[in-house]
């Protein structure tokens, strides 16, 4: 488990990191928490010649209130997302999802931005960000741009990030007063999601007024279940009504088949887990 040789840089600002990145071209890799990058380097599935560690850039870490949104720095480790009162209050589903990532060690090293940039289809951060309509703020040589979560995830492990760009922060529109639940299905605790569902729900008087639902590991990218969201609006927050509203959630998805289950099973799970997530999020 020894990686190939590489040069290591630890810049202290985003600008410096961008310069280093520009200088090294496609031979470089950004290092965040290393929880995905280091294993693939040690297995020599990745062999960057230059590693640029973002760990010393203080500006990339932390959660702040920005009026309509909360803003989470890319280098904020999962455990800080879990513990953040702001995230808990305004983006409950995200807080819940972050708590399901791996184990305490990984949550202390792995970062929110790293998880999104890595874009593993079974990763737990993309779906809640997508459900909540998050925006990803990206810095590149030409300055800053903002990409909606819906446009960010392009394919397996592929995002809108260019090779010379850095994800700096993620803006999550506040969903204050909304319920939230992340329903993750695994066989053992430290496992990646077989299927998971992120749900944010606004409920009033036993009825769902608005819902946001996104699916993890039901295809190459996280999937926003817009038809289900529409069907849920105005639905009583009870098991039968929700069951009916979410029944078709897996329609049009192409989940993987592997040793944990075939595509059919995943489609079935998606409907069950969506019902459970929505009911839990609506406090039912």
């Amino acid at each position: 488990m020894i990686p190939t040789e590489f040069d290591y840089h630890a810049p202290e600002s985003v600008d410096e990191a961008l310069r280093l990145l520009a200088g090294a071209g496609d031979e470089a890799k950004l290092l965040a928490g290393g929880q995905s990058l280091l294993p693939v380097m040690r297995l020599r599935m990745a062999a960057p010649e230059v590693v640029i560690d973002l760990g010393r850039i203080e500006a990339l870490r932390g959660v702040r209130d920005d009026g309509e949104s909360i803003v989470i720095g890319a280098m904020t480790p999962h455990f800080e997302v879990v513990e953040s009162a702001l995230v808990h209050e305004h983006a409950l589903v995200l807080s819940e999802a972050a708590a399901t990532v791996a184990d305490p060690q990984v949550r202390h090293r792995g970062t929110f931005g790293g998880a999104l940039a890595h874009a593993d289809p079974a990763g737990d951060m993309p779906a809640p960000v997508l459900a909540l309509g998050g925006e990803l703020v990206i810095q590149g040589p030409g300055g800053q741009r903002t990409v909606a979560a819906a446009d960010f995830f392009e394919d397996y492990f592929t995002t809108a990030l260019g090779e010379d760009e850095i994800l700096t922060e993620i803006r999550i529109p506040k969903h204050t007063g909304w319920g939230g639940h992340y329903e993750k299905f695994t066989r053992v605790a430290q496992q990646w999601s077989i299927v998971a569902v992120a749900a944010a729900v606004r409920a009033e008087g036993g009825s769902i007024t608005e819902a946001r639902v996104a699916l993890t590991n039901m295809g190459s990218v996280p999937i926003r279940a817009t038809a289900v969201e529409q069907a849920l609006a105005g639905t009583p927050a009870d098991a039968d009504s929700v069951r009916a509203a979410v029944a078709a959630v897996a329609e049009g998805t192409s989940p993987p088949s592997d040793i944990n289950g075939d595509a059919d099973y995943r489609r079935h799970l998606a409907a069950v887990l969506t019902r459970r997530a929505v009911l839990a999020a609506s406090g039912a």
């Binding site: 190939t4 294993p39 874009a119 593993d120 394919d155 592929t158 605790a189 592997d258 040793i259 099973y265």
Partner: protein, 832 residues
């Protein structure tokens, strides 16, 4: 120190045996302040890395090492042809039938590779990184051959794994047994049942498992001294030394093998490995110390696997449920080569399929078969879990068939406590046991009747979460093993054990044991035994092991043998020390040895207040100023102990599971076991062994399975996919004991290391199947994953392996990704 560590110094000294002593070894093991093999570094040491075949079956057409040799820091690159003349063949010590085919097994493949992960070359360099870098530069040309992965397919002999032996079947072993009162052999009994009874047939699948010890295998060979020294993370330093000598032609006296602290084995380090042979050969060739430490991926791929057996079980019974005949037809997967025990591992099950029941006739029919997969061998329980699973599963299935309570069916058929000693149909004499007592206690702790009522309620309510209750009333044979029996079974060595006691001049004690711990706590348990018997403080006993220069004789640790064989050897050695010391003490006290009695560390002249402590006697033997004529100046003693028989722990395990019929998820709601392991030396160690054992058995039932894709690549090549549970995945375990002392050894002890693993798997699967009976389900293949359980609920055929697209080991899922192939840029798909 906590309360349990304090010895009360009252009138009646508290006995060590039976006390829940904290383990002496834990501080260094748990804090890591110890010498694992990989932590060691010798002057001038070189590092090795292995080039392994990505193909499961291929001819090697060429191996080009030139570029690798030119890589910075590389000292040598060694191929199979370089070693062809000296590497001999890795040993198999169990010829299970006289006709057994035992193909040659070179440490480095010379012309053919037969499983993915087989070594084709070895790089030696000045640093581990340089060695690893050069592995990429070795250019091997392979001509792929067709692969055979399943034993049934292999038995067709269409593709031969070892063409030189002309068949993929290594051996076919049939053992027939019948009691005197039987109407005939098992066929006759089954025939009789067909006309006037019940014949019940089932097929079960023992999936392939990977032992998953915590410390990956590591070894260092130092060839620079007069003796070649090998440190290895092994369970069997003594056996390794003998076999290295025999296989490589090195005089045994020129070899020293050391197993330092070893981080777990579970049978997975009961092996003589290609890596060890290569390390020794290469170090001796280069004249420099060499180290090899495997990566976890290499370990999962190429260290031996376990289980992997197709089972067909036929049970004959009378109409009232009294069992009469049992036939076990097995096909066991050996993998690509015969391992150290090879077919001996499934053969260990030969005496256990009948379990605790009274059969008239029994046949064990075993075929051992080669496939293009990693070799298989012992994994915690070795042969006995497979047997116990089959009998305990079929007893539950049969009870259901009869509409009988599974415990009632068992009670009808088991050996009652009055019947001990009892000779089983397989010819073993079970010395002691009380199945009724263990079962009664377990039922009570479990709340069996209440849970059955709860199950009824949920069934009636059509509850989405159904309750299932599973039973396993097991016994096992352990304490391997009487040497004569091993001889009769055609195993190459014996099963005795050796110990010595060294009385040091100041009255402290060194105990040398031939059993080699790798986490079990021998140092603590042996200290407790010796402290009581010699009357010396626990702290004054030091237990030495694992180095053939210190513990020069021994047969190591496996098969729950350490205490019941090795511990008894210690007792025998202690007795000799006391005998010798009595003579010296008598001389010192001017009394006759016949008048001396020894208790609590003191030799006294009976009926007087004259006495000498053991320490005083030890000093007298040391200064030797005044020893009786003809008495040697030493109290030290050796003993070798060969057991007359096996050890037969037993117990009743009850498991309740919640099965979510919507998702197929299985959650253990309650697990109760009452084990009878006879007398207990240290209840805390026993608890640890039972807990660990249960977890591994439960894990076979629910989580673990080594899966190959159709090209023979291990899909479960990392812990992302090979699922090992951790604490949150397991229930609280209620463990208790009954105590029926073994009558076959002085301590009254039985083995405990494997019991939990052997017993628990069928209890869990029985519970899962029990929950699904209303759906007409009568089996769920292991591991009972949510997907399979859901399929069973859907009424679909289960058990077909769903496998991902063929993947190449080099681009396979990693510890840090979810198992899908990174195709995009984010992790760099290039594998330079």
């Amino acid at each position: 120190m906590t309360a349990v560590d304090e010895r009360t110094t009252g009138e009646t000294p508290q006995l060590e045996v039976g006390a829940a002593r904290h383990r002496k070894e834990d501080q260094r093991l748990i804090t890591g302040r110890t010498r694992w093999t990989d932590n060691m570094s010798l002057p001038g040491m070189l590092h090795m890395a292995m080039v392994r075949s990505p193909f499961a079956h291929a001819r090697i057409s060429s191996v080009d090492v030139d570029e690798a040799k030119r890589s910075p820091g590389v000292v040598a690159v060694i191929t199979g042809s370089d070693l062809a003349d000296v590497q001999g063949t890795l040993p198999n010590v169990w010829t299970i039938t006289p006709e057994q085919k035992t193909p040659a097994h070179p440490s480095i493949a010379v012309d053919t590779v037969r499983f993915a992960g087989e070594i084709v070359a070895c790089v030696v360099a000045r640093t581990p990184a340089a060695a690893r870098d050069a592995v990429e530069l070795v250019d091997v040309d392979y001509d792929e051959l067709p692969v055979v992965l399943d034993t049934v397919e292999a038995l067709k002999d269409e593709t031969l794994i070892h063409p030189d032996i002309g068949t993929n079947q290594s051996a076919h072993l049939v053992m027939d047994h019948q009691t005197e009162s039987s109407v005939g052999d098992v066929d006759a009994v089954i025939e009789a049942a067909r006309t006037d009874g019940i014949v019940f047939e089932r097929r079960y699948e023992q999936q392939r498992l990977i032992p998953s010890f915590m410390e990956p295998r590591s070894m260092i060979c130092d060839p620079t001294g007069e003796q070649t020294v090998l440190w290895s993370s092994t369970q069997i330093p003594h056996i390794l030394r003998v076999l290295l000598a025999m296989s490589l032609g090195i005089p045994e006296s020129k070899l020293r093998v050391i197993a330092p602290d070893v981080g777990g084995g579970f049978g997975g380090k009961l092996q003589v490995t290609p890596e060890e042979f290569i390390t020794v050969l290469v170090a001796r060739r280069l004249g420099k110390p060499c180290k090899y430490t495997e990566t976890r991926s290499e370990s999962l791929m190429a260290a031996h696997h376990g289980r992997a057996q197709h089972q067909k079980i036929t049970l004959a019974a009378r109409k009232d449920g009294t069992v009469t005949g049992l036939k076990a037809e097995l096909i066991a997967d050996m993998g690509a080569y015969l391992s150290l025990l090879g077919g001996g591992t499934p053969k260990l099950g030969a005496f256990m399929f009948n379990g605790i029941y009274k059969f008239d006739a029994y046949r064990f029919d075993l075929r051992t078969v080669f496939t293009n997969t990693a070799w298989t061998d012992a994994y915690r329980g070795a042969g006995r879990p497979e047997a116990t699973f089959a009998i305990e599963r079929i007893m539950d299935d049969f009870a259901h068939e009869l509409g009988m309570d599974p415990l009632e069916l068992r009670a009808k058929n088991w050996i009652t406590h009055e019947e001990f000693p009892f000779t089983s149909v397989a010819g073993l004499e079970y010395d002691s046991g009380n199945y009724e007592a263990a079962t009664a206690k377990a039922k009570e702790l479990f709340g069996y009747d209440e849970l059955r009522r709860e199950q009824e309620r949920r069934r009636a309510d059509n509850d989405q979460v159904q309750l299932g209750i599973g039973v396993s009333t097991f016994t096992e044979m352990c304490g391997l093993a009487p040497s004569r029996t091993l001889g009769a079974l055609a195993y190459a060595a014996g099963g005795w054990e050796h110990a010595s006691i060294r009385m040091l001049p100041t009255g402290t004690v060194e105990v040398v044991t031939g059993v080699t711990p790798h986490g079990q706590g021998h140092e603590t348990a042996w200290s407790q035994i010796v402290a009581d018997r010699l009357g010396v403080p626990f702290e004054n006993v030091e237990v030495l092991h694992g180095d053939t220069q210190i513990a020069h004789k021994g047969l190591d640790t496996y098969g729950s043998r350490s205490l019941v064989v090795g511990g008894i050897a210690v007792v025998k050695a202690v007795e000799k020390v006391i005998e010798k010391a009595t003579v010296v003490a008598a001389h010192m006290l001017e009394a006759s040895p016949g008048d001396i009695e020894f208790a609590e560390g003191r030799f006294s002249v009976r009926g007087t207040d004259q006495s000498k402590t053991l320490a005083e006697v030890a000093w007298a033997a040391f200064d030797a100023h005044d020893l009786p004529d003809g008495v040697e100046p030493s109290l030290d003693a050796d003993a070798a102990f060969d057991p007359d028989t096996f050890s037969y722990p037993h117990g009743t395990h009850l498991c309740a599971v919640d099965v979510d019929t919507e998702t197929g998820e299985v959650t253990i709601a309650k697990y109760v076991c009452v084990d009878d392991i006879g007398k207990v030396i240290n209840p805390m160690i026993v608890e640890g062994q039972v807990h660990g054992g249960l977890v591994q058995g439960i894990s076979q039932a629910l989580f673990e399975e080594a899966v190959y894709d159709e090209s023979g690549t291990l899909v479960t090549g990392s812990f992302v996919d090979y699922l090992v549970p951790s604490a949150p995945d397991l229930p609280h375990l209620t463990t208790d004991r009954t105590e029926t002392p073994a009558t076959t050894n002085e301590l009254g002890v039985k083995g405990v290391g494997e019991a939990g693993t052997i017993a628990s798997t069928p209890a869990v699967v029985n519970a899962v199947v029990d929950a699904l009976r209303p759906w007409g389900v009568d089996d769920v293949p292991m591991p009972c994953s949510p997907h399979r359980v859901w399929q069973a609920v859907q009424g679909r055929s289960v058990g077909e392996r769903t496998v991902t697209q063929p993947v190449n080991p080099e681009t396979m899922q990693t510890d840090g990704s979810s198992g899908q192939l990174p195709t995009g840029d984010a992790t760099g798909g290039d594998d330079r």
